[in-house]
Structure formats: C-alpha cells, structure tokens
Symmetry: C3
Subunit: 326 residues, 3 copies
Amino acid sequence: MKHFTHIADLGPEGVQEVLDQAVAWKANAPGHHLAGRILGMVFFNPSLRTRTSFEAAMIRGGGNAIVLEVGNGVWRLESRDGVVMDGDLTEHLREAVPVLGRYTDFLAVRAFSDGGGLDADDADSVINAFRRFAGVPVISMESAREHPCQGLADMLTVRENFGDLQNLPVTLTWAPHIKRLPRAVPNSFLLSAAASGCDVRVVHPEGFDLAPSVLEQAHEYARATGGKVSVLRDRAEAAAGSKVLYAKAWGPTDGTAEVRLEDWMTRDSDFDMMHRDAIFCHCLPVRRNLEVSETVLDGPRSHVIDEAENRFHVQRVILDRLKGGA
Amino acid sequence: MKHFTHIADLGPEGVQEVLDQAVAWKANAPGHHLAGRILGMVFFNPSLRTRTSFEAAMIRGGGNAIVLEVGNGVWRLESRDGVVMDGDLTEHLREAVPVLGRYTDFLAVRAFSDGGGLDADDADSVINAFRRFAGVPVISMESAREHPCQGLADMLTVRENFGDLQNLPVTLTWAPHIKRLPRAVPNSFLLSAAASGCDVRVVHPEGFDLAPSVLEQAHEYARATGGKVSVLRDRAEAAAGSKVLYAKAWGPTDGTAEVRLEDWMTRDSDFDMMHRDAIFCHCLPVRRNLEVSETVLDGPRSHVIDEAENRFHVQRVILDRLKGGA
Amino acid sequence: MKHFTHIADLGPEGVQEVLDQAVAWKANAPGHHLAGRILGMVFFNPSLRTRTSFEAAMIRGGGNAIVLEVGNGVWRLESRDGVVMDGDLTEHLREAVPVLGRYTDFLAVRAFSDGGGLDADDADSVINAFRRFAGVPVISMESAREHPCQGLADMLTVRENFGDLQNLPVTLTWAPHIKRLPRAVPNSFLLSAAASGCDVRVVHPEGFDLAPSVLEQAHEYARATGGKVSVLRDRAEAAAGSKVLYAKAWGPTDGTAEVRLEDWMTRDSDFDMMHRDAIFCHCLPVRRNLEVSETVLDGPRSHVIDEAENRFHVQRVILDRLKGGA
C-alpha cells in the first residue's frame, strides 16, 4: 500500500489486518514508531476529531504534524487542468502538492465533495491529484467519495462490542439534517462493513440512493467475504435483530427529494426490534434532537465517544503502514 | 486539584505553593517534566500570550500542544442543553469535549464572557461544561468569571519586585477602553492578591461594580490570610503609599454608566502619591494612550513584559500539578 | 549575525557560507542541531512553502515551531508610534514583540509591503520593529523590501545546476499578473545573485523600476564580487546565452504603467536564445498560463519544485547560525 485514500487501497484482507493491529496497539501502545516522521495535514474543510486524532497519533508515535488550512492562512488552491489562472485561486495543486511532499514524509488531506454529483464524487479529483503529485504517501481525512479512516474506526468499535464480524447484522440508516451532506461517511461504513463480512442493511428514503459504483464495490466485498449487502426502504425490516444502528445524514440524489424528517430521527423506540445488546453509532459531529434524540446519545447504547477515540487507534496503524514512503 | 479553572481550585495555600514552585523553576528549569503529555488547547476567542506561553510551556517541558480555534477550521460548538440543533452550530460540547479528552492528557480552554451579565459570568457555563465532560484535567485560559493563570502571573511579578506579599498594598484601578471588556482579569487579580494576604484596593467609577460573589470570595480570602480588601471611588486614596498600580478596563454593570475617561487613564503623575518604588502592571494587550500613557508603558515602572513572561512560569507549574490526570 | 531580515545581514561572504553549508547538509543532514529551540512564527500574510519549510526545518532539527497568524486567532497589531489606540487594532508591536521574545528562541516574521511605495518598502517598518523589540534573533519570512530566504534558495538551485556562480549569466524577467505584487522577491534574487558574483540581467517594462537603493546595493555587491548587474528593456537581449530564466511579477512604480501582458508571459520559445541547458525558476505560487505557460512549468527546464525544497535547506542553516541568541 502506497496511499490510503479509499477502502480499496486495503481491500478486505487489509481491513482486517488494520483492525487486528489496532486492537493490539490499543492494549499495548507501540511507542515511538513514528520517530522522525512529519505528517503534512491539508484541510480544505473544517475538522475537530480528524485533526486532533491525527496530530495526537503523530505525537504519541514520536513524530510531528504540520497543519495547513487552505484559504485560511494558506493560499487558495486551483485543481483544474489547463486553466489560465487569472481568478482568485493563487496556486495550483500541481505545484503545491509536490512542494509539500518535499518537506514532509506523508500528506493527509481533507477535501469534501463539492456537491457536483455522484459521478464527480466518484472521480474524487482533489484527493487523486494529491496521490498523483505528492511524491509521498497520501492519506484521506475524508474526500468526496470516502472517509476510510472513519469506516475503519466504525468497524473497530463494532468488533470491540461484538467480537467476530462475520455475518454480524449491522444497520446504516439515513438521518435528517438541515444540510445536504456528502456521502463519504455512509459509503465508508458500507464498504468497511462489507469488507468485514457483515450482514449490512442500508435503509434510506426514496431519492437518497448511494452511488452505483459504491454499491457494486460493497457487493463484491460481500461476495468475497461471505457477507451480505441489502438496500431497504423499511426501517423496521432493516433494524430487525440488528446489533448496530449507524445513523448518518446525506443529501438527495437529484436535489429535489421530499422526506418526512420526523420518521427518520433515531429514537429509543428504534431499538425495540433490534438485538437486546444493540449499540448506537455515529461518526460525529451529530445534530442532537434532529438526527438522533439526546436520550439515545446520552444513554448506554451510544458508543459515539469510543468510536471517535478509535479514529486515533486505526490511524496510527495506517500511518505505520505508510511510513516507508510512496 | 483535578482542574484549574478558578482560583478556588487552589485556595490561598495552593496559590502560594504555585508561586513558590514558579520562583524555583524560573531559577532552575525543570527539564522534560511533561514528556509524553499532550495539551489540547481550545480557543473560543483570540489570544497571543496565552497561546504562545502554554505552547512554549508544553514544549520546554518535553510535551506537545494541539491548538484548536472554534469556528475557525473547527466546527462551531453548541453549549445549551436540550435544544434541537437545527441552527448554525454544528456540534455540541457534550460530544466535542469528551472526544478531545480521549486524544489528549489535559484540555486548556478560552471562553470569554458572552456579555450576559454578572450572574451568567458567575455560572461560567462553558468552562464548567468542559470540567464536567472532559474526562481529563481542564485548565482555564480565561473564562467568563476568571483568568486565574493571569492572576498567578500578576502575583509572581509583584513578589519578584517586593518579596513578601503579606499586607503589601496593591491597587487595581479601572481603565478606559472603547469596548465593554469582561471582568475576568480584575476578578483574578483581586482574588489572587487577597489569597496572597495583600492589602488590595480596588478603585472604579460608579456603575462598574465587580460581582458580589467575587468580592465576597476575596473578603473571605483576606480574612483567612490576614490581608485586606477595600473598594474605593477615589483614585488618590486607592494609590496612597501603594506599591503596585494594576490598570484594567472593564464594562459597566448595567450597560449605561457614564464616566469621564480622561480621569482614569494612568499617567506618570499617578505615581506621585504612591510608594517611590511602585510598579505598573497590566495583563496586556493594552491600548496605548487610552488605558495608560505610553510614557508609563515605556518607562522604568512598567513590568508588563515581565508579567507576560511570568504567565509561562506559573503555567508550567499548573501543568505539572495536573499531569497526573483528572 | 544577530538577525537575518535582509541580504545585507550576511553580505556576499555570508551568502556563500550559507550556500556551502546548505550543500553539505543537503547531502548529510545535521541531526538534532536545533534541539530545545522554539521558533515563533508570526504571519501578517498567507504562506504555504514558507510556513511548512520553516516548521519542517525546526522539527527535523529536533526543535519546535509555534505559528501565529495576526488577526486570525491572534490580536490585530498596531505598528505606528505615538498613536491613541482607540481603533480596531488591539495590541502594539512594542508589547507583542518582546513578549513573544520571552517565550521563544527566535522569531520569524512575514510582513508584506503595504503598497505604500518604494521608500516605505525600503524603511521596512514592521520587520525592523521586530529587530528592535524582540530581544531574540529575528528572521524574515518576507518583508516589504526583501525575501532573503527565497534569494538564498534561488542561488542554491542555480548552483546545484551549474556549479560555480562566478560570472554565471542569469536573467530576472518581469511577469504578468492580475495583482500589483510587491518587489521583495525580485529584490532578493537580484541581491543574492549579485552577492554571488553572477552576471545578472534584469528586464522589465517601463514604469516597473526596482528601487534605487536596491539597485545601488546590487551594484556594490557586483563590484565586490566581480559580478555584473544590468537593467534592460529588451527580453531578447536579457536572455541571450543566459542559463537561468527567473520570472516574477511585480507592480508598477507609480500605479499607472501600461504593458502588453502577452509580451511578457514566459513561453517555451523564450528558451530558444538562451543557453541550451538553461533552467526556469520561479519562487511560487505561480499563475499558470498567465505568468508562464504550463508547458514550461511541466517541462524539463522547470526547477520550481527543487527551488521550493531548497527553502528548507537554506533555512536550517540560517536557524543554526542564529541559534546562539541575539
């Protein structure tokens, strides 16, 4: 593995290796395994968990991070090829990225979807430009198509609660939100769970489909691992006997879908038909009493803080795997 | 001590212990006493001294700091309980704070008064939410009620100039400003000086009272330490024979008080009736020729730069006392 | 050398010493030569290369950097003397700079020209205030008059390509831009090349003169080193036989000059009359297809990424020379 920007960089086998290592290092910290390494962190969008957990992983490992926020103290960056740069973007990725690669040992990048649609998300042009031009390993801190470190942290959390992931029923449910959020997180949960052999049920309102390419990849992983992927319309069917309720908001496919928000907020009653030990997961940040009731968030089923902590544990494994260079 | 957000976390005895240790470490630096420790720094407001001195204290001690600015590259945070989060605040303190506590060894927080009045300042809801949810020790970098590290640095500066603090006459004078500044700094000077046994004289125009709860706490410290606390209207009376003139602007109690600004700017002539060795102190940033004349600031009585340096010295003692965990 | 804010702090002999050391350390890294050192970095303007390369130089050397952005999480700073500070600037350099000097071992500062004209650039008031008030060594990360670390990195790049710099023909050409950029970079290339004994040809349209004081200093260096400085109007004459084409945009002298932009964009054909091994240099960020065609930038003559990397190599030499204190 030279880069880690998509679950496909690991594949099902790699996902399990990372989880195994993360479990081991969560029990026994690896010491200064990143000594002398510098991670360059490039943010096109805000962050709290991602930034802090990556910085902490570098520091705990004996290394350092340099944090850059594009357009906020750092020049605004152009990504399109062939343009005459006579607008408000000061520098092109074709210069900025290799330059940063000369000063650092790897680059972590956050570049959310620009809302250009499922095909544009799939092309994932910014993060792929980093892969192409960096000269050092590139790690995704969420791009248009995926948030793969989140997917790994999700699976680590599920594994800590239930052990064996094979055929484990897990449910990804759409959630209400005031914004048309990108699909990187649901994509990554789906891909990570399918790569782990889970029985994944995805449920969302009409008009909120995930991208065909992502579903196809998830089905392929399920076939390889003996897992299962179902896309459903009925929350009760998706929840029945399931051990994980993973709530996440994302935007409509074509921008016009209507949905009764109150039908989709996660409540305590949603757990009635689930497994008695079922847990609640969310990638955070979460909108209290909009995506999920505060009684669920503050109750014993919620593992959202552990899930966030697990970002740290999976990421230091990823950093270790990539520290040898591109 | 599990947290340090208010002078009450130390009490009079603790204040003197911190000052003793700061004097000792200023003479002989403690080496890498913070090795392996990460301080998470969360700013709701700007900073220059606070940020740099805390980062420097962590680094000099062999540790590291991670700096987060709320709303500036980091999600905007909600602090109210029970709300439906359908507005422009992305994440609740109930998630953000414990998550940051999982990645770091302690959290330092700056959350100025929101101008909601003396009772709201006293309740100090944001910093107290950090105490409640962090899971690790919390340090104030100034909150609504207090700026306790500033108070400690002030007392260290006074002690370096005059030695014994018992019954030392010190004067806190209100100063003019274009903004209605919060009371955290005057509160902290008053509480720290009273906890150190000083003869504290506070002088301000009518309509600029400090909070009753703060004055009551200061009187209680004065009784315990054999010090004295007086609140005066007359600058001459407050300055007579005093060894320290501490100038600080803060806003009116009810928002309507009128005051002749030119009567309150500190000038060289203010030192005529003070002790011949009297010094000038200010927490900085200071408005030159508005709060105090530049001849005072640039003259030999001013110890404002030493005072700022002392932030570093007291803070590394605080960090050391808290490094064992919450 | 107590500070490094202008090429004059090194002089011709010092410039060559820095280049020699940079070549040596690029081959064999110096280890933790900056252990225990903290660099305070103060930005009045955005940065990508400068910030990352300085932070990386401190970290690779075993030290640390603290990054402050004026007006962005840090108080806005006043630099004028004698003013009544009743406006929107919160703190004066006379306090902020010595305070930062108390927490750190050296300060690096970026303070671009405010567009006040050649005399104001020459006076360089902000960076000179840092020199005066810091109490620790001050390093320029570009100020109104110069960007001296860039000039050193430029010369290192030229030297890596051509070896001996004595009488080497190098060409600095004006380039088109949508903004009236400052002259710090062309000034620094000119001064560094003259200090290295090059045959420097500067070519720009009428109305875009460099400052007389800078040209005079360059001529003085050329006399001392046996080099040569020519200011030309004809690009063909400036390029003839030259080994380096250094393109850089800057603003008109009096704000009204007209120029046919298409005559000045660097193209592949510009190299026809140059030396067959001629290289293209630019400090970055560069406007593709406005300052220079993308075919030049992406072609084999371009050394802009190496040039940026060399920022790191010269800066760690500068940091080492200044680590002993002011």
